[in-house]
Amino acid sequence: MAMVIKRIILENFRQFVGRQEIVFESAEFPEKNVVVVYGQNGRGKTGLFRAVVFCLYGERKLSQDGDVPENEIRLANLTMLRDHPGTPVRTSVEMTFSHNGYTYDLLRSIRVMREGDKEYEQLDEIRLRVLEPDGNTRVVDVRDVPATVAKVLDPRVKDYFLFDGEKIERLTRSGLEQRREIRNGVRNLLGVDALETAIEASDCAVKSFNKALSSDPRTTENMARLLNELGGAEIESEAVSRRVDELADEERLSRDEMSRIDEKLNKYEEIRHLLNKRIDNEQQIKALTQKASISMSSMSELVCRTAACIVRPTLEAVFNYIDERKRKGDIPAEIRRDLILRILEEGHCICGNRITECTPEYYNIKRWLERSDDSSLQDAALDLWRYLSAALDRMENDRAEAQKRIIEHSEVVSEAQRLVDENAQLQSQIGGSDRQDISELDSMRSRIRAKQVQIEAEARNCSSRLVELEGRIARLKARIEEERRTANLNTVFSGRYGLAVAVRDALKEVHESYTGEIKAIIGEKVTEVFRALIDAEGRTALKRIVVDDDYSLEVLDRWDRSFLANVSAGQRQIMSIAFISALASCASGASTINMPLFMDTPFGRLSSAHRNNLIRHVPTIASQWILLATDTEFTRAEATELMRTGQWGTFYQLVATPEGNTVIEGQRVEDALAYLR
C-alpha cells in the first residue's frame, strides 16, 4: 500500500509564522490524490518539502542547496526570533501520514534562541505515534524513530520524490558528470551499491582464505601454486576491468567534447560540407578498421589448409600409388593373403593342382604373396586413398580462399587509408581557413581525435587481455577443483575457501543478472511514461529510451540512433520526469509510485501539450501528487485540465504578509479558477 501524507502542521518553520496547517488528504474525497500549493516564488513552496524532510529524517539540507553548509540553513522563523530575543522559539513540523494500513503521527521540534547576533539551537522533541490497523496506538521509542520512518520511506529515496524544475533539467543534460549523477542515484536507489560492496567484501574474504589455504602445510605444493596463480590472475583481471571502465568514461568524455566542437564548427556555413564529409569518412574508417580486425583474426582458420597445399605433390604421389595398386587388383587383393599362405603351406592350389617349390606356378604364387598386404593394411590404404582424394579435390579451393582473404583484407585496409588521407586533406582545408576561430576549434578537434584513437587501441588491448585472463581464471579454478577432489583435500581451510568462493560467485551472478534486468525494466518503464507524457511530435521522432551500461539514459529515434543531443529543453524535462517516475516505481517494487511525489514548478519549459499530458498522467502513476506551482505556470488552463481528471483534492495558496512571512490559505478546488490567471 502507498504512503499518503494526510496533513502537515508547521510551527514557526521558515517563513511560516505561528501554527499553520495544510491538509493534503481531503476528508470528503480521500481518493483524490492531487494537492496544489500555489504561490509566487519565495513564498515557501520548497519550504514545504523541506518541512517534510526535516520532520521525517531530521535533515535540513536538500540536494538543491548544493554546497551551502548545513549550519547556514535556518529553520526557525526570523520574525519570531527577532520579536522574541533571548527567548527560545519553538520550531516544529508535525506530519500525519498513512502507510500499509498504519497511521503515523510524527512530530519533530527544535528550540532556537537569538541573543545579539548569535543563534542557539537545541533539539526539543521527537515523537512518533502509530495508530495500528486494530485501533491500538503505540508510541515509538525515540531511538527507534529513524528505523521506523526508514521502513516507510527510505532516506535514500527522498531525493527522487522531490524534483524541481532545475533538477529535472540537470538530470538529462548530456555530459559525464550528469551521467554519473544518474548512475549513482540509480545504483543507490536500487541497492546495487550494497550488492557491489558485498561482492567486493566477499572477494576480500576469498583472498583471505586463499592465503590461508596456500599456507596450510596439508595443501599440496601444486595446489598452493595454483591458488597463488589464481589470486594473481584475479587481481590483474580486476585492475584491467577498472581500466576498461575508465577508458569507457574517457571515451564518452571525448565524444561529448567532440560533439560540442562539431556543433560549433557546424555553424560556419562555408565549411559545413567539409565537416560533414569528414565525419562521414571517420565513421567509415571506424567500420573498415573493425572489418579489417575481424578479417585479420580469421586468417588463422586457414593455416592448416594452406600449409597442406605445400605437400600437395606428396599427397598426389601417394594417391597415385594406391590408385595404381587398386587398378592392378592388389588393393583390395583379388586373393587374400591368408589364403595364399595356406596354399603355399599345403602345397595345393584352390583348383586342386599340386604346387611344388621352384616351379613357375610356385613363383607366381610367391609373387602374389609379395604383392599382398594383410587386410588391415589394405583397409588403411583404401581409407587413405579416399581421404587423399577428398583433400586433393578441395586443395585448389583452399588456396583460392586463402588468396581471396588476403586480398580482401588488403583492400579494406587500403580503402581505410584512402579515407584517412582524404581526411587529412579536408583537415588542411578546414584548418587552413582564414578564420582563426575555425582553425583553433579544428586543432582542438584533431587532438581529441588522436586521443580517441589511443583510447580505442588501449580498450581493444584491455578487452583481449580480459578475455585471456577470464579463460585462464576459469582453467585455474577447474584445476584447483580437480586438485581438491584428487587430493581429497577436505580440510577446514579448504572448506572455508570453497564456501567463500561459492558466496562470491553467487553474488556476482546475481549482480550480472539483476543489473541487466533492472536496466531493461527501467528502460521499458521510462519509455512507457515518456510516451504517455510527450507530445505527438515527440512520440513520432523519439522511439524509446534505454539505460546504457553505465546507467545513463540514451534517447533513440525510430532508427535506433542516438538522439540525446537533439532533444529540446522541454523534451528533456519530460524525459527526466519519466526517468524519475520510472525509478521511483521500480524502487517501490510496484507499477505505481507508492510515495508522495512533490513537483516544484515542473512546468517551466514545457509546452501546453506536455503540461496537459503531465497533468493527465501523473495522478495515475503516483499515490499522491503535490504540485508546487507559481502563478506563471499554473494558470486557468492547467487548473481546468486538472479539474477534468477528477483527482484534484485540495488547493492552497501561499500568501505573503507585510513582514515577509507566509500564510497558508486553503481554498475550495471549485473556486480555484478565481485565484488564477
Binding site: 516507510v152 536500487l190 567484501a201 566477499s202 576480500c204 583471505s208 572448506g495 564456501l499 558466496v503 510496484a590
Partner: protein
C-alpha cells in the same frame, strides 16, 4: 528499499532475494547477510563479518560430523 517491507523483512531488494533463492543454503544465507551488512557498513567491515560467518558455518558443518 521498497516501502512495502515490514519490520521482519531483510533490507535486500526483492529482485535480489528472488535470485538468491536459487542458491543452496548456506550460500543464500551468507550472501543475503553480506548484502544487508553492506547497506550500512564499509567493505572492510563487511569482509570481516563474512569471514567470521564462514568460519562459523564450516565449524558447524564439521561438528555435525560432515568433515574429515
Amino acid at each position: 528499499m521498497s516501502s512495502n517491507q515490514t519490520c521482519e523483512d531483510s533490507g535486500v531488494p526483492a529482485f535480489i532475494r528472488d535470485k538468491l533463492v536459487l542458491y543452496p543454503e548456506p550460500v543464500r544465507r551468507l550472501a543475503t547477510r553480506a548484502i544487508e551488512l553492506s547497506e550500512s557498513h564499509k567493505k572492510q567491515a563487511v569482509c570481516e563479518q563474512v569471514v567470521g560467518m564462514i568460519r562459523s558455518q564450516i565449524k558447524a558443518t564439521r561438528d555435525d560430523g560432515n568433515g574429515d
